[in-house]
Symmetry: C2
Subunit: 145 residues, 2 copies
DNA sequence: GTGTTTGCAAAGTGTTTGCAATTTA
DNA sequence: TAAATTGCAAACACTTTGCAAACAC
């Protein structure tokens, strides 16, 4: 049994996460709330399923890796996350869903946003009829010199 | 036993492929020659291991899928191919190793070069010390409107 | 209560590897 | 003949799925 005040005090740190889930029409389960908190509290970030799972466990949140995968995809489907394909070995998810580009460290495999890189695509070549651009990804790859 | 004339007539269509392998310091084995011919005869192309393996079999060239994978990576290592990360599900290899960008069809999963798309990266943000840009990938993703 | 979500373990996918047999130089 | 290459099958890493139990509303 959970008292009203206990619930309120417990809920407060989860309020932003709760909003996000509510707004997206996803049931605020314990797991989803905890993952949303990890993802969206604080600055933008880039995670892999494995990373987020590890963080959750360290934060004493019981979640299975399968649920982390499912949750990341659900969040992506409702536009809370953006999936970035930079590395054939694993999938990255970005909490920044606005238009921006990426800087990938090939040594550490860390992914960063490029904040103010002006990319101009001149002469976008004619797409085949009935096709539209769904997105343009720019990935600057760096490594130890 | 193979006669000299038979060898010569057989070798002619493989001459460009042979050059490539020689130049790269790779032994021209039957498999590598056949794969090089499929890859480099004709216009630039984008292949996955599965695709190239299928083609080889259809052309009555006996190659195992493992060898196709190994060969694609060897070719990539010596600069004959470039690996493109566009799809989390599979790896693409591009015979065009010059600077250029890509157009990816999310429906058919076909990959194309963008021939003359001028991409200007202004204000390349300062890289961390000791790091250099190894490459910039630009991927325009399109899908059915 | 009813439909949704979870966790597990099993299955799946694309890819890599160990090693004996084969091929190249 | 010595060294490199191949093919197979097993191993791999990451990801998805089937289904019963747990949960949200």
């Amino acid at each position: 049994m959970t008292s009203v005040s206990e619930k309120a005090s417990l809920a407060r740190p989860f309020a932003p996460a709760l909003e996000k889930l509510r707004g997206a029409g996803l049931r605020p389960t314990r797991q989803r709330l905890a993952l949303a908190k990890l993802l969206f509290d604080g600055p933008d970030r880039h995670v892999t399923a494995e990373m987020l799972h590890g963080e959750a466990l360290r934060a004493r949140v019981q979640v299975s890796l399968a649920t982390v995968y499912n949750t990341l995809h659900q969040f992506t489907d409702v536009g809370l996350l953006r999936e970035i394909v930079v590395d054939a070995e694993r999938s990255y998810f970005d909490t920044n869903v606005g238009t921006h580009h990426h800087l990938f460290d090939e040594n550490s495999r860390a992914l960063h946003d490029i904040p103010e890189c002006d990319v101009r695509l001149d002469t976008m070549p004619g797409l085949p009829a009935g096709m539209e651009v769904s997105r343009v990804d720019v990935i600057v790859r760096m490594r130890k010199a």
